[in-house]
Structures are given as C-alpha cells and as structure tokens.
C-alpha cells in the first residue's frame, strides 16, 4: 500500500471532519427522541397550566412530524396478542418479550408501543417506560391511554407536576371522559405513590368543569407503607422474621440501640458452642469447612443501613484490617444515611470511607479493632477454576449462613473481573467474603444470574486490590501464584 498517499487521504478526511464540525453541518445524531420528547413535554407543561390552545397547537405540530417507516403489522399481531394475554396474567417477563417482538416487527403501531411502555412501567423500569410512551405519543398524540400510563410513570418517579400534565391530557383526549375520570379518581384515592395521587387529583380538579364528573376526592391521603412481611404469611419462603417494633429516630447517638433492635429481629447464627464444635483454629478433622467457618465468622460482618429513621437494607461485609476497615458492595450502602456494623459479636457505627460504583465496592471505617483480619488473595487465573470456595454472609438476615461450592469460571463484565462460583448466595450475601481453603478471600459476593442455578459472581479480590478502595498500608494481600 502507498502510505504517503494514504496519509494524505487520512489528513484530508480529518480536515473534512473538522471543517464539517466548524460549519455546524453535522447531523444531530439520536435527535429523533429528543425532538418528540420536546413536543410531549411542551404538551405536559401546557396541560398543567390549563392552556388548552397551546396543547392543541403542539399536538398538531407533533402530528405533522415525519412518520417512521411502516412495519409489518401482520407479523406483529400474534406477538401483541400473546403479550396482552401474558400481561393480563401478570407474567411481566413473558409480556415484555412478546411486546418487544411485536414492537420490533411493527414500530409504528401506537398500541404496541404503549403496551410495551406499560409493561416496562409494571416492571418498574421507569426510564424505558417513559421513552416508549413518549414515542407512542409521537405516533398518536391524542391517545389517552398512553397519557394515562405516562402520568403514572412520572408519578412513580415522584414528579407530581408532570404526572398532573399527563393525566390532564389523558382526560382531555379521552373518548370516554367519564371512564378516564373514574380511573383518575381511583388513582387519586388509592394509589400508594404520593405523586400519582396528587397528579390525578389536580388533573381531576382541572377537568371538573368540562367533564361534569363527581367531585374530586379531597384531601390526598397520606401514603401507607406496604404491610410488613410476617413470618409464614408472606408469599415467599423468606425466613421467619418477626415484625420489628417501631424504630427510634435514627440519630447517631441512638444508632447502636436501633441496630440492636434490628438485629434482635433477625435469625441467629448457628452457635459453634452449642453444637459442640471445637474452638477456632483447631484442626479440621478432614472437614476444612468447619475450620474456615470458625475462623471467618468473627471477621464476617452484618451491615445494616438506615434511611429516614428506619432500617432500610442489610448486607454483608468482611473485616480486612486490624483497625476496623470493612469491605462491602457499594449497592449495599448506597443511599444509606447511617450505617451500623456487627462483626462476630461486636457492633459499631460505621461511616463510608471510600466507595466505587465500578467495581461495586465500598470500604467502611468502624471502631472494631481486631487482632485478626481477612487476607485478600491476589490470584486471578485459570488455575482457580475448580477450587473449593466457602461463602459466609447474611442472606435475608440469616446471620452467619455458610455455604460451599467451587469456582466455576472467571468472567470479565464491563471491565470488572469476577469469579463465578457455584456456592449459593441470596440477597443479604452481597458484600460478604468468598473464601478459599487456605482462609484467604478470593472474592466479594456481589451478584447472581436471575436465570439458571447457582450462577453467582464475586468481584475478584484482585479487582479489589486494584480498585480505589484498596488501602495498601492496612489491608493484607496474598500474592499471585498461591491459590
């Protein structure tokens, strides 16, 4: 190849790109959605302000936007039917798959786009729901059902203003206004989300003169938290956990008291003493699990987070330094206002020292001084596959639950190194240690695949060591090559 001429061509290309950029001639990529969203937002804002003429102007403008290429309605129809059946049966995953296929086959049918948006809403995937519904409205700006669903999407996200505007448009464009008014009344009185109730109420009040509907309910009821799960009464097979008593307001000075209350409600771990086990550090009698369990239990932590004065979440952690540093997953402590930690039988309030979203890690500073701590094993190579692993954590609050498995594989997901393990983990295990036979920590239990069985993942200890939360002076490492 002639490189000098090639270099000239390249230079020419770059110069052209630069000239185009300077001339402002670049097309607005991804501008389709932004354009239609602008019109929809205008219609919402104008509806909130009861500016009917403005709403209709923007409706007309939106109707004049270029239409997308028509799809294959015949191919989409059976998928749509299937999706409707699954949605009616509450099978959201199946409904989502079916509506998606229908939408891909025919993206110009507003009913299909709206149904997909509704399914995303019911799946609590609000961003996707909003995009699909805005798109559905670009196809049919006067489709009341899409406005009603979009209002609920905004309400679920706490945006009462936009919920109001969307609900107002649902009523404005309804072919059967009394029916939509009744739907809004139900939302205004019974929906658990504050912003939905407020939005529906305001839309009803704005619509009252036109619809001559029964008076809107007033006042807006305060939200009622969902009923707590009681032992043996839930639809799931969660462990028995008595209903916690009313929590004190979460101030730092009474945090430990609150933690004790919370912990008192949780199932207690197996007690090595009552089971006749030997003291920590004794020989394993051919069963390394017992040795590892006894040594690791005091170094494995229960993490309780508090938000709005109440216990919010719990997870697991591992004590990794003698001065009380605890590692866990960032998603365990995300949004926590206060934190409390119990490692073994010792408790402490904690504060976030460092955190990282990718990898999903956080380190907590506690007052739990310790003569012993976990050692992070830096190994990350194929030789790990097949090794036994042991997991300790607090799944569903069952403190100190111990499980075993093997390392099934090494995975890199979004640039983060994970160890795939077959040991069972559940919600509450997040942030807990995955331990090798030698007692070193090879990973931090983080996530599991929704489908399949025992396809679980721990952030590799090697990743912890190379992450921003690692502190070389305090945390101990076992070097590569000695798994």
């Amino acid at each position: 190849m002639n490189f000098p001429s090639f270099t000239r061509s390249l230079a020419l290309a770059l110069a052209l790109a630069l000239a185009l950029a300077l001339a402002g001639a670049l097309p607005a990529v991804a501008g389709q959605y932004e354009t239609i969203d602008y019109y929809v937002q205008q219609m919402i804002a104008l509806a909130s302000a009861a500016d009917e003429a403005g709403v209709l102007t923007f409706r007309e403008q939106m109707e004049n936007l270029p239409r997308p290429e028509p799809g294959d309605a015949r191919q989409a129809h059976p998928f749509n039917q299937h999706g409707q059946e699954r949605l009616a049966g509450g099978q959201l995953k199946e409904a989502l798959a079916a509506f998606r296929q229908a939408f891909i086959a025919d993206p110009t049918d507003p009913e299909i786009a709206g149904a997909l948006g509704l399914t995303y809403l019911r799946s609590r995937r609000f961003k996707e729901a909003e995009r699909l519904l805005v798109y559905a409205l670009s196809l049919a700006p006067a489709r009341s059902a899409s406005w009603l669903t979009l209002g609920q999407v905004y309400g679920q996200q706490g945006d009462a203003r936009r919920a109001t505007g969307a609900f107002a448009n649902a009523h404005r464009f309804a072919q059967d206004r009394p029916q939509v008014a009744e739907q809004l009344r139900q939302l205004a009185t019974a929906d658990p989300a504050d912003a939905i109730r407020i939005g529906a109420l305001q839309a009803l009040r704005a619509a009252r003169p036109a619809s001559a509907a029964p008076p809107a309910p007033s006042p807006v009821l305060p939200s009622q938290p969902a009923a707590p799960v009681r032992p043996g009464t839930g639809s799931t097979s969660l462990p028995a956990a008595p209903v916690a008593p009313e929590r004190p307001t979460t101030a730092t000075d009474n945090l430990l008291g609150s933690l004790k209350q919370s912990l008192a409600t949780l199932a207690q771990p197996a007690d090595p003493v009552t089971t006749g086990s030997a003291a920590p550090g004794t020989a394993d009698n051919g069963n390394p699990g017992q040795r590892i369990y006894r040594r690791s239990l005091p170094l494995t932590c229960l993490i309780v987070t508090f938000q709005d004065g109440k216990t919010a979440n719990l997870g697991s952690g591992l004590l990794v330094s003698r001065d009380g540093l605890v590692i866990t997953n960032n998603h365990v402590i995300d949004k926590a206002e206060n934190l409390a930690v119990r490692c073994g039988d010792r408790e402490s309030v904690a504060r976030v020292r460092k955190r990282s979203r990718e990898p999903d890690l956080a380190s907590l500073a506690t007052s739990l001084k310790s003569v012993d701590s976990f050692v992070l094993n830096q190994t990350y190579n194929q030789d790990l596959i097949g090794l036994d692993v042991f997991v300790i954590g607090n799944p569903y609050g069952l403190e100190g639950t111990f499980s075993t498995g093997v390392i099934s594989g090494l995975r890199e997901i979004d640039g983060v190194r994970y160890i795939q393990i077959s040991a069972p983990i559940s919600p509450g295990n997040s942030g807990g240690p995955v331990i090798l036979r030698d007692g070193s920590v090879i990973g931090v239990a983080t996530m599991g695949l929704k489908v399949g069985q025992n396809l679980n993942f721990a952030i590799a200890a090697a990743e912890v060591i190379s992450s921003p939360i690692f502190e070389a002076k305090q945390m101990q490492i076992r070097r590569t090559g000695t798994p």
Binding site: M1, F6, S9, L12, A13, A17, L18, L20, L26, A30, Q32, Y33, E69, G90, A97, R100, F103, I104, P107, R131, Y135, A145, T149, Q152, A170, V180, Q183, D191, P192, D194, S223, P225, A226, A227, P228, V229, R230, V243, R247, L266, Q307, T311, L314, N329, H331, V332, D360, P395, Y396, G397, I413, D414, S426, P427, G428, S430, M447, G448, K450, V451
Partner: protein, 233 residues
Amino acid sequence: MNAVCRMPALLLAAWIAATPAVLAQDSERNRYYVQQMIEMAATDNEQGVVGMQRMLEQNPRPAAPDPAAARAAFQRGLTLFGQEGLDAALAAFQQASRDDPGNADAVNYAGLIYRKMGRFPEAETALQQALALEPSRAVAWFQLAQVYGLENDADRALGALANTYRFAQNQMRAEEILRNIAENEAADILRNAALKTLRLFHLPAEAVIVPPLPTNPGGIVPMNSAPNPIHTP
C-alpha cells in the same frame, strides 16, 4: 514512433499495469475508513465517524458493466435465499456484484450468507464492501457487529453496534433491539456489546446479571408503593 507519441502509450501502459494495485489500494483504504468508523463509534467520537462516512461517500460509484444482468442475478439470489439455497444464492449475489460493483444490496446479502455459513472473514470483507458503498447502511453495521461478536472481538462489535444505532432509521426500534440483545443474547461478547452501546448513548439498560437486592429486615418497607399499583387504562 517519436517521443511525443510514445509518452501517452507509456502512460496508458503504466496505468493498465497499475490498475490492480490502485483497486487494491482503494479497497484497503475503504476498509481503513470503515475500521475507523468502528473505532470512533466505540469511543463516541461522532465527528470522526461522520468525517470517515463523508470520505466513503465521496467515492465515485463504480461503473456497472451490465446493470440488467446484475438486476436479474440479484432477483435470482433473493429467490434462492428465500428457499435457503445458500450456495446458489451466494453465487447469484456474487454475479450481481460483478455485473454491478456498486450494488450494495448484493454484497450485503453475500455478507449475510457468508455469516450464516460461518465463513466470518469473507462475511467481514463483504459487509465492509457494502459499507464502503453505503456507509450509513444500518443493517450492514448490524450484521458486521454479529460477525465480530461471533469472532469474539468485543471492541469492534461495540463500534459496529454503535453505528447500527447511529444510522438506524427508527432509533427507538434499534434501541429496543439492542435492549433485547443486551438482556437475552447468549453470547457474552454480543450481549455485553449491546449493553455498552446502550450506555454509550445514555439509553436505559438493565444488565442480565444484577446485584441481588438487599432485603428489608423485619419487613420495614421504605418504598411507598405496592408492586403493581397500575390500573389498566
């Protein structure tokens, strides 16, 4: 023959001798531009992508030696393709491409058939050729992304998918296709590439593998809504 007369003849001879090299060079240069579009798309360098696209679009459309024969061969290829006669369809599309080298549809179909046959290097070459003729051809980008996914080339799969979205006529449909791949595709490389593409364009995406939600001890529920509070409109 005097020197004045010899000069044009020499130039003609030189041009004829150099033609294969020039064509090869063009092909190599086009391939370079396509690869640059992939690399730049993977890093969200929109201006770079557009610059390279413009370079490709400036290429003159190759002359068609026999357009009528090309159309006939292409139609024959479509029929055979519909009947799953891949070898015969491939031959027909190749014939169509020879009779009209500017027929992007023909090389695109050839690339698709190569991919179906598992002949990935040939598929890549054909699809790049289609993109050199028509760099905004979203379907060719999508097929190229699948080829790269099957070849475990994560970076280029990402770039090709990014261009699929960028050049899609209906971006909402493309977005949903990407989401479908990101959530359901069994091949890690392609699934992750789709997920990264969605994130590249700041589009909502849910990874298949998600952290287990921390539980609510004692049933203390911070949220203020029931699981399915929606009334069917």
